[in-house]
């Protein structure tokens, strides 16, 4: 029998044939057809491929599928719930924090990972935490503003 890897993807149990050479990035993009996770460099440099693995923002191009067994993975497609956009997604739209939009899913997932760890991010912490995600279009200022606004909003919802 073929070996399979089982894990949880955007809240649903899934499985995929074991292939030790496969990275999470390409499994998502090809096998699961979740193309919101982008290839930007394949070398861990740019952050376009960022997803959440067990509560941490990671670079899916650097993660082999064998590391994913039993894990929980969230991609950009899994962020909205029942058609309702996540606060971060709304904030990116409201602040026009994108141009070509190619870096956007990675930016949002990385920010989501930061906020999971620390909901009280200061602007300096946002900048430091986003540092290794690249945006060639230069939407940086707006991305920082969007993340800052979303963090505030999420906090106020929580404490309400």
């Amino acid at each position: 029998m073929e070996d399979k890897i089982q894990f949880e993807l955007n809240g649903k149990p899934v499985e995929i044939p074991m292939d030790e050479h496969q990275t999470l990035l390409w499994a998502l993009r090809t096998y699961f057809n979740l193309t919101g996770t982008k290839y930007g460099c394949g070398q861990g440099d740019c952050g376009a491929c960022t997803v959440i693995l067990n509560g941490e923002a990671i670079r899916s191009c650097q993660v082999g599928m064998n590391e994913v067994s039993g894990a929980k993975v969230i991609t950009i497609e899994g962020l909205a719930s029942n058609g309702e956009l996540h606060t971060l997604q709304k904030a990116f739209m409201e602040h026009d924090a994108l141009q070509c939009g190619f870096c956007t899913p990675g930016m949002i997932m990385n920010a989501y990972g930061l906020l999971l760890k620390n909901p009280d991010l200061t602007k300096e912490e946002i900048i430091a935490g986003m540092e290794d995600n690249f945006c060639r279009c230069g939407a940086h200022n707006r991305i920082i503003d969007a993340v800052e606004a979303a963090a505030k909003e999420m906090k106020s919802v929580e404490t309400r």
Binding site: H21, Y39, G40, D45, C46, L85, M93, F102
Partner: protein
């Protein structure tokens, strides 16, 4: 006429055929009111160039369609790559036609649905496409009014329009919607006379800010870029690449690759590829190919580059000359002679080049990340032998372009592989391939010899640019004795470079503005005059004066001669019809040579601004992107071997570098100008001038890396 020159710069050499036959699109698109228009005719930009006129479509190259349901589509060969024309063009159309913005849909770049267009670059969509688009919308409105007049039995003058409904001015009860007029009809109109378009005072939608039309798709990951397109049975291709641009394949052994499960190996002359449904398997197998090469390298690298370029320079062309340089020299008290350099710069879009080719029923469809779908269609037809009408190019969303996606060789590769294998084939370049095949902004040298008299008036301007390109080489200052010479054809001069070069956001202008505005700053410092005052004294162009004064006021500029120790720099320039001026504040770490740009203020005169929000975003993007070529971005190479392969050896601007940005768009009722490029051109000079103001050290070489800053600090007088 300046625009003619600029337009032709891009069209020369292209041939063309309209994409879609008229009878076909009636079938495809259904009923409604069609208005066809020709971008070039309406502007008359090619009137003097009969030869090039022949190669452009003679009848129309865009049209708009008022559908039977009252919505409006505009079919244009332009593409959206983050610059936001999808929004601003829709605004123009909605405004002229008096329909809600939400009712307008832009259909862009699909060669089957859209008429021919040369490509999207040069900040031309708004400037050159906008006026005929507005005229077409006005024409459509006139036709609809005529039809309504007939239907309602009221003269057209007695009618008015509110959001797609034509209403009698006398009796508001008498009305008819566009929908009712166009339903069940196929009405065809061509635009040959310019109808009246709205006056600025009548705009309701133009001039207002709109968020990106495509925002929701992009924050949810639903937006499809080329590499996201899926076709059943598609294979990923991984292509054998030479180690250098000077390498020639002499022998190849693919036997190991062929042994891998499920692979397909293609060997077609220069194209050797491994295909697999799993991209990582394809790559693994491709890496098992053994290949030997013969090398014929140019003796040039990033160290001896500028000597090489000057040594191999072709003869210069005088592109502008006024007065007499010898007389000018005699009128000069202070002579400044400088040489400026800039290295090769990559486009480095976050999306690499990708294309998916799919053949069905003798027709080939290629989804491609390209700024030039129609030229790509022609190339693919020529290379694969499919007749032009059977080649369809669809450009999905582009993950950045900046000129880098005017080249489309990935689409040709995908098409060839699809034809050979009969399967749908995806060619999506790796980051390394992207650096290797990028059409870099050319390395360039500018030599300037200028002089002022005792009063600080510039009397002499002798300007020579090598390989940068003419764009932005205008003197802009009022100098009685001046000459500008161009050596080499700018980014269109492949012969000297060891690899491909091409248009890079505001081609030519980044280099030229860096040189000119640095030189002005040197003269101002020598004259011990505040750099803004010095510029104003030597300018007569009222719009340039306007942006300079605006930026000075908005930044709270306090006049002082440089170096003042404050770290403030200024620069101004002209690009794509727009005037810009920047002020920057920097901090220089004198121990490490690292420069931090803390604040950039930018004033832009772009005529009437269609979408202030969109234009602001472009200005911010220009400023942030400009930090890269100013401070770090430089392609390393040895002969044809590109040493820069990844983002650790090619540093893009990061979050921690980002300055506080303040943008100011002048409010003017003048024809709209380009907005995607102008604000990037000053970045080199404004930072160099600020570094000088902070430290007294002058930088002549872009990028101004820490090493170069340290050198300049050591060498300062």
């Amino acid at each position: 006429m300046k625009e003619t020159k600029e337009y032709n710069e891009y069209t020369a050499g292209e041939t063309s055929v309209p994409g879609l036959r008229r009878r076909d699109f009636f079938k495809l698109l259904g009923g409604g009111l069609y208005v066809f228009f020709n971008v070039t005719d309406a502007l008359n930009v090619l009137a003097t160039e009969s030869e090039q006129r022949r190669s452009l479509p003679t009848d129309y190259n865009a049209f708009l369609l008022i559908h039977e349901d009252g919505t409006v589509s505009c079919y244009t060969g332009k593409i959206e790559m983050g610059q936001g024309v999808i929004t601003s063009l829709a605004q123009m159309l909605a405004d002229e036609l008096d329909v809600a913005y939400e009712k307008v849909k832009m259909v862009m770049g699909d060669t089957m649905l859209c008429p021919w267009d040369m490509g999207t670059f040069g900040s031309m969509s708004t400037r050159f496409f906008g006026p005929p688009l507005r005229a077409a919308a006005a024409e459509a409105l006139a036709v609809l009014l005529d039809m309504a007049a007939e239907k309602l039995g009221i003269s057209a003058e007695q009618l008015t329009v509110e959001d797609g409904v034509i209403i009698s001015k006398q009796d508001k009860g008498k009305k008819i919607a566009y929908r009712e007029l166009t339903s069940g009809k196929k009405i065809e109109r061509y635009l040959d006379q310019k109808p009246e378009v709205k006056d600025y005072s009548e705009f309701r939608i133009m001039g207002k800010s709109f968020n990106h039309q495509d925002g929701r798709l992009k924050v949810t990951g639903e937006a499809k870029y080329t590499a996201d397109i899926r076709v059943p049975g598609m294979l990923y291709a991984r292509i054998l690449r030479p180690p250098s641009h000077g390498a020639k394949l002499v022998s190849v052994d693919t036997s190991e690759a062929e042994k891998q499960d499920g692979v397909l190996v293609v060997k077609d002359r220069d194209l050797i590829a491994v295909l697999h449904e799993n991209p990582e398997k394809a790559e693994e197998s491709r890496d098992k190919i053994k290949a030997e090469y013969e090398f014929d390298e140019k003796d040039v690298n990033d160290q001896n580059l500028f000597d090489y370029l000057l040594k191999n320079a072709p003869e210069g062309q005088i592109i502008n000359s006024q007065g007499d340089l010898d007389i000018g020299k005699r009128m000069v008290d202070t002579l400044v002679e400088s040489e400026y350099y800039n290295s090769y710069v990559a486009h480095a879009t976050m999306e690499t080049h990708a294309a998916l080719a799919h053949i069905e029923d003798e027709k080939i469809t290629v989804w491609a990340s390209t700024q030039t779908p129609f030229p790509a269609q022609e190339t693919i037809s020529r290379v694969t032998g499919f007749p032009l009408e059977n080649v369809r190019i669809i450009p999905p969303f582009l993950g950045g372009g900046f000129g880098g996606k005017t080249a489309h060789s990935q689409a040709v590769e995908a098409a060839r592989l699809a034809k050979i294998t009969g399967k749908p084939v995806m060619v999506d370049w790796s980051r390394e391939e992207e650096f290797f095949y990028d059409t870099f902004r050319p390395a360039a040298v500018v030599q300037i010899s200028t002089g002022t008299d005792a009063s600080g008036k510039i009397n002499l301007w002798d300007y020579k640019e090598y390989y940068a390109g003419e764009r932005g080489s205008d003197t802009i200052y009022d100098v009685p004795h001046q000459r500008t010479m161009a050596f080499g054809r700018g980014w269109r001069a492949p012969e000297v470079h060891p690899f491909a070069t091409g248009a890079w956001r505001a081609p030519g202008n980044n280099t030229n503005t860096f040189a000119r505005e640095s030189q002005i700053d040197i003269m101002a410092a020598k004259a011990q005059t505040d750099p803004i005052e010095f510029r104003l004294k030597n300018l007569t162009d009222q719009r340039m004066i306007g942006v300079l004064k605006e930026v000075a006021e908005k930044a709270g500029w306090k006049p002082a001669a440089s170096p003042s120790g404050r770290g403030f720099g200024v620069a101004c320039g002209f690009d794509a019809g727009a005037h810009v001026a920047h002020i920057a504040e920097v901090e220089v770490d004198q121990a490490t040579g690292r420069v931090q740009v803390k604040r950039v203020v930018c004033a832009q005169d772009m005529g009437f601004c269609i979408n202030p929000e969109g234009a602001t975003i472009q200005m911010e993007g220009c400023i942030n992107m400009g930090l890269g070529y100013s401070l770090t971005e430089e392609v390393k190479f040895t002969g044809g071997k590109i040493e820069t392969k990844d983002f650790s050896s090619y540093q893009l601007p990061r979050f921690s570098w980002i300055p506080k940005i303040e943008t100011h768009i002048l409010e003017l009722n003048e024809p709209p100008q380009g907005g995607g490029e102008p604000a990037i051109i000053c970045m080199g000079a404004v930072i160099a001038n600020a570094i000088f103001d902070a430290t007294g050290a002058r930088l002549y070489h872009l990028p101004m890396t820490p090493d170069r800053v340290l050198d300049a600090l050591k060498n300062k007088l």
